[in-house]
Symmetry: C4
Subunit: 232 residues, 4 copies
């Protein structure tokens, strides 16, 4: 089942090392199928060189393997929580990409310092809190998903406008309309983490991008008045 | 029309990812044809892998598409303003290259700290101000061009001597006698932004290159007494 | 003798430049054979382009060459001391990889700032002291091994839990169950040195990963309750 | 004439972009022939893609072109002064490699912070002063050579022990017994500039490598008691 989606998820996983987002098997991509309410995800700990499209695992929203011979990514329960709570998203990426992980380890939100950020993220990318011992005991990966959802709800952020999050002490999750756009958002997040780090080191008085420019750049690419690209 | 220039602009666009200046479609190159008073520019949001020379768009100085099936780059009006006001230039490049964007986000001019800078830029590369709300409303990309022109006029900088600018909060534009030299100037600008950042971090007392060395290096490569290369 | 192990050590040595851990011949990998109590190691100062599997040198735990026409790595005595004292390890890697060397030159232990660290190292990676003049005179490479062993004994660190060390002023050694996992640990150590450097620069108040998360991440990949990967 | 040396110099020039030391044509390599007292050097401003071994230019120690259709590198007079004054050297490299240039722009000597440095440079790499206006007028490239020689003489540094220098505000020159070892020394210098920068940023109290370790590492690779590598 879902052979096309498996191929898509497989290709998106291969993009992670190609674009320098991961080393070894430190990442995973999934994509959601609305019709079956299942998602396709990378198997756990399988090397990218030997991995095939048919190794992708089909999982339902309760984390049951529906099809596949291999164990799905150990982060599967986090993906499931996000698909359940953010119904507008079709693909999810987790990496330990260097710069996003640095901000995650520093425990800081990533402010919008420039238009590279504004073209993709409509405001700061939040850093979610560390899990408590009780949450870790209750199910680390599932509760990680809950803490992400809590972060967006409490701060009133629309996950469609800010398609990514940092997990304090861990690394980034990004999402998008499909697997490929979730990968692109992972690339952008890593790059703006790099740029924003150096901007603040270069000029500690550097200010966030004015709201008028944030709006202009985000809205010329997203929403009903967007005019970037070749239209529909 | 302008088939040779289309090929040249196409090749110069391909150089952007090859030289590590851009990710995805975050950049554009154009070149100007004096005879027709038109320029050739990359189409908007088209991936580099699928792009062909015949996809390049021919545009006049009033931003009308003269030939081409695709929308031109959303930054087209900025290019048009520069070709109108800086008649000595034949090619323009816009990127979000990492180091130039860092200085742009910091809102700082790039001082000449060494001969790598002096070989290409005859003094500091200026950082142009953020647009006002009125300017954004009047036409963001067109007014971006006007702010660049204003910056060079007000500061009395000759755009032939300093072939590039930073846009505060955004990124660099560079130019040159043709598309290929504009790309080279984009590479140099990014590299000197990197070097100059680290120079100041390493030694906060580091001073700008003495004027006598700036003159020597710039003038041994440019102008009527240049002796670098195989020239005539 | 040990033709399979020679091939394995040869391939693991080739991984060092491929993964960006070394330039020229600045590194070496060995692997241990329990049956013969010998180890196979890279020859000294031989370039990676011209090196063949048959050039690998077989050495016993007293540093005698058992088979091979070339001189073994000048660091051979350090490897021998580690195999003698850390009987659980099957492979050793030495490099001058950029980021691990930076921490070694700074003379600092590498704290666990994130889960990338916790997935591989169960706590800080220690930095071993500089050798005394007497130790250098007694046999620099042999005494280097002794100082590593002393560091783990005095601090009560299990080398199976923390498979690596920094040598103050020099660079890293890592180890693992075999040559290939020792290389992986060298990659991880370099990456966490990079991430942890920038984390502290970005936020000087950033704290080490809470023990509960360190435990969770290390133990979901290692030990009898591990559930990462495809199991046995 | 000197066809073998031309091939050697050509190959060494190609190594500069391959090893990430230069962009475009920002570097040059030469090698000296004792018999003819001439040296072979890269032509000025010729791109690496179109360059051939036969384009290399033969020049004597008074900067006269002895053979070749192209102009030699504009830095030729600097090379000539070094060959005249440092008779033990057989190859010279000039680049604007990023990290060595950063230290040159900062105007600082590069201290020996670790064994990566000590394996190649027997002490600090000096930063030579900026030329005066009179020196620039008298012949910039020739006087650059004189300032390098002055730096080594005044400080009592043997150019065979410390095969490189930084030019304040400009970049590095390195040398060696031949073109290929001069390139290797350029790679090492760039890497130690990078490592030493980050070492000091990470730990501002980090000290230089103790003399006993500097001696040990330098002398195990150089001089009559060297035991690194496969001997003679």
């Amino acid at each position: 089942m879902l052979e096309d989606l498996k191929e898509e998820v497989f290709q998106a996983n291969l993009e992670l090392p190609e674009r320098g987002l991961i080393k070894y098997t430190w990442g995973n991509v999934s994509a959601f199928d609305k019709a079956s309410q299942c998602f396709v995800i990378k198997p756990s700990g399988v090397g990218y060189a030997e991995m095939k499209a048919s190794d992708m695992v089909v999982v339902d929203l309760d984390n049951h393997v529906v099809e596949g011979d291999l164990n799905p990514s150990s982060d599967t329960p986090t993906h499931a929580v996000l698909y359940k709570n953010f119904p507008e998203i079709g693909g999810i990426v987790h990496t330990h990409s260097t710069w996003a992980t640095i901000w995650a380890q520093a425990g800081l939100d990533v402010p919008a310092m420039g238009t590279t950020h504004a073209d993709t993220f409509f405001g700061s990318v939040p850093c979610a809190r560390v899990l408590t011992q009780d949450e870790i005991d209750a199910g680390y990966e599932h509760e990680t998903g809950n803490v992400i959802v809590e972060t967006f709800r409490e701060r009133g952020i629309n996950p469609a406008d800010v398609p990514g999050v940092l997990l304090h002490g861990h690394g980034p999750f990004t999402w998008g309309k499909d697997a490929s756009s979730a990968v692109m958002n992972a690339v952008v997040l890593d790059e703006v983490c790099k740029m924003n780090y150096y901007t603040r080191q270069l000029n500690s008085y550097a200010e966030e991008l004015p709201k008028r420019v944030l709006d202009k750049h985000y809205l010329r690419k997203h929403g009903k008045n967007a005019y970037y690209g070749q239209g529909k």
